[in-house]
């Protein structure tokens, strides 16, 4: 039973990583939001699996909240931002697609190296997926740094939060409820504020190209 639990969790973590790769592969902002939404759904699935095998009722509640927030509310907010923008494509990010994919493979290898002490220390059956969670975190940092559109940077940030949530679920079966609720609230407010700032950017710059935000130097 333990082995099945472990395999399901690792499978789910790999799927979240593949959603991240899909995000790098696509060029339309619409596809970024879809990849993120699917990743959140897979993450909810992992939480539900952990809740089932560990008979933890609180985890079901957290998983439901997570699905509501990141699988539905936030993708809707993102779609609302991207609709008036029309067909904005991430045409030429700072790093082209093939190189991005290779860099991500290297980042996953780096994550495996960095998380050796974590996997060695943990006695939980979910420990095999922790390097993948750390890999997702590093890939999200890369996405934020290499994208040119403000909206895609926000989605990279949301993916970073997904990676951290995955790390928390795999390493410690979640964090205390009060902190979890605070994190959700922060995230929701953070996305709303980012949305407002992007509206400001669109109104003053007529585009959400981050390259235009280069006036303040030295």
């Amino acid at each position: 039973m333990d082995v099945l639990f472990s395999q399901l969790v690792v499978l789910g973590s790999s799927l979240t990583l593949i959603c991240a790769l899909m995000l790098l592969w696509h060029r339309h902002v619409y596809a970024y939001t879809t990849a993120f939404a699917w990743q959140s759904v897979v993450l909810t699935g992992i939480m539900a699996v952990v809740a089932y095998f560990e008979r933890d009722a609180e985890m079901y509640f957290v998983a439901a909240l997570f699905l509501l927030l990141k699988g539905w509310v936030i993708p809707r907010l993102l779609r609302r931002i991207e609709q008036p923008l029309g067909d904005e494509q991430e045409l030429r990010p700072y790093v082209n697609t093939a190189t991005s994919l290779l860099v991500c493979a290297l980042l996953v290898l780096f994550a495996y190296a960095v998380s050796r002490p974590l996997v060695a220390l943990s006695r939980l059956p979910t420990r095999a997926g922790m390097p993948l969670a750390l890999g997702l975190i590093f890939i999200s940092l890369f996405v934020i740094a290499s994208r040119k559109k403000a909206l895609t940077q926000v989605i990279g940030f949301l993916m970073l939060e997904n990676g951290i949530a995955l790390l928390a679920v795999l390493g410690t079966y979640g964090i205390p409820l009060v902190v979890e609720l605070g994190v959700f609230l922060d995230l929701l407010l953070g996305v709303i504020v980012m949305q407002l700032v992007i509206y400001h950017i669109r109104d003053t710059f007529e585009s959400i190209d981050v390259e235009q935000l280069g006036r303040l130097r030295h």
Partner: protein, 484 residues
């Protein structure tokens, strides 16, 4: 009770400003009066701490205030009061619309609330939530005047700081993971006293990894290089009262978070690891700040880079043993008072000259003599000249460094401080003297606003001459907590 006096008035003020539509000046005065309450509460808290108490509140000690918290509470309350009394929304003459004034009153009070929560929370997770909330509440205030530079600055601020804080959360999760593997899941697991108690048995490598993430994360918020890129933009483009709050005390709150985790990590594996990292990042910040100050053309950016320099000095002090911690905390107080005053003065200068370029704001001494005098005093202070408090704290830092045997390091720091000194005073010279542009009005507007700023200079002078014994006692308690 004291916690209620600290946390409730900002919330009430924010609610007051949010509910009264359209904005009326009396709301501004109301919120300013409410801002005095946390100041009184902070002084009372320090008195209780000096008596030897540690205050807690809530089931499971949700809020906990010891000496370090009390010091930060005092700083936050002081700057929040300054920003409330000298910020937009009190007179009809400031250059903001009613909506902007209302926005300022609501969000600056929420900002103050989140900072108070961050330094009094017992749970490091709640502390994290509060620090993230400070980013959110301040990000909307930066583009109070929506212009291209301010929007750019606010985007950089919210993105870089959110990413940094998320990395700090990775560190928190890793530390929690370490603790849970040792002691099993408990609801009080993330209380920092629980972490400290179990620190010696925590796993070294995992905690090292966690501390790296935490330092990078909270260091982004504190303005340590190389994560400082948002700081000059955000602090220079926001309204001056907000810059005062951000530069004066938000950086200190981020350093507070670093200190809390440093205590745990030092208890687990000795101080060498955290000291190495802190010294490296501080030196880098000092170097980048000092060299960026040369050739700086915008006086608000100049003040922002000076903040980076002083953050670097504070973090350097933390790495130099108990003497260094004393110096660092004293430096933090001095910097808070100075920098908030400087940004508010810069706001007055900007209001008169309508520009933040140094080249376009000469002849200050002719246009606004009192402001010029206070501005000069402040510049001497941040450059580290006696008889101001920052000279004493920097001297104490040097002494701690030499006592710890780090002579080469201190020599390097001296050189960098000299570089910054020259750059700052050159700019002061250009601003004070010279021919002002023809159409500039002479004389002070709102001379009553100069009184609190004069008070700041007075405090700096006092701290530069003698260290009052209550403050000495408080700082000693802090050193006991940080370097036992």
């Amino acid at each position: 009770m004291i916690f209620a006096v600290l946390l409730l008035p900002p919330l009430l003020a924010a609610a007051l400003a949010a509910l009264v539509k359209p904005y009326r000046l009396v709301v501004g005065w109301g919120t300013a009066l409410l801002a005095l309450a946390p100041l009184a509460g902070g002084v009372a808290l320090c008195a209780r701490i000096l008596n030897g108490e540690v205050l807690t509140w809530g089931s499971g000690e949700f809020l906990r205030a010891d000496g370090l918290s009390a010091l930060l509470v005092l700083c936050i309350a002081f700057v929040a009061a300054l920003a409330a009394w000298l910020g937009p929304g009190l007179t009809a003459a400031d250059a903001y619309s009613a909506g902007e004034r209302r926005g300022y009153r609501v969000y600056s009070n929420l900002f103050a609330f989140t900072m108070f929560l961050a330094v009094t929370a017992h749970n490091v997770g709640v502390m994290w939530v509060a620090v993230e909330a400070t980013t959110i509440t301040s990000a909307l205030l930066i583009p109070l005047h929506v212009t291209k530079p301010s929007v750019e600055a606010s985007w950089k601020y919210i993105l870089i700081c959110s990413v940094g804080i998320a990395l700090a959360f990775v560190g928190t999760v890793l530390a929690y993971f370490d603790f849970v593997n040792l002691a099993g899941e408990q609801p009080a697991a993330l209380n920092w006293t629980a972490l400290l108690a179990s620190a010696p048995s925590l796993h070294r490598e995992v905690l090292q990894l966690a501390f790296v993430f935490l330092l990078i994360g909270y260091g982004t918020k504190a303005g340590l290089a190389p994560m400082h890129t948002w700081l000059p933009d955000a602090h220079s483009e926001s309204p001056s009262a907000l810059s005062a709050m951000m530069s004066g005390v938000l950086l200190a709150v981020a350093i507070y978070a670093i200190i809390r985790w440093k205590i745990v990590v030092d208890a687990a594996m000795g101080p060498a690891f955290s000291h190495r990292l802190l010294v490296a990042l501080s030196l880098l910040s000092l170097a980048i700040a000092a060299f960026s100050l040369i050739g700086q053309r915008n006086y608000k950016r100049m003040l922002a880079y000076s903040s980076i320099e002083h953050t670097g000095l504070t973090c350097l002090g933390l790495a130099l043993g108990p003497l260094g911690v004393f110096a660092a905390m004293l430096h933090m107080i001095n910097h808070t008072v100075t920098k908030s005053m400087m940004f508010l003065l810069a706001g007055r200068v900007q209001q008169r000259y309508q520009s933040t370029e140094i080249a376009e704001a000469p002849g200050l001494i002719r246009i606004m003599p009192v402001t010029a005098g206070l501005f000069a005093a402040g510049m001497f202070a941040i450059a580290g000249l006696p008889p101001f408090g920052l000279f004493i704290s920097e001297f104490a830092l040097m002494r701690a460094g030499f006592a710890a045997g780090q002579t080469g390091l201190m020599a390097l720091v001296l050189v960098l401080l000299a570089v910054a000194f020259i750059a700052l005073l050159r700019n002061l010279n250009r601003m004070l003297y010279g021919m002002p542009p023809a159409a500039t009005r002479t004389g002070e507007n709102e001379p009553w606003a100069l009184a609190p700023l004069g008070l700041c200079v007075f405090i700096l002078l006092v701290l530069g001459v003698v260290l009052p014994s209550p403050l000495n006692g408080l700082l000693n308690r802090v050193v006991e907590i940080v370097s036992p």
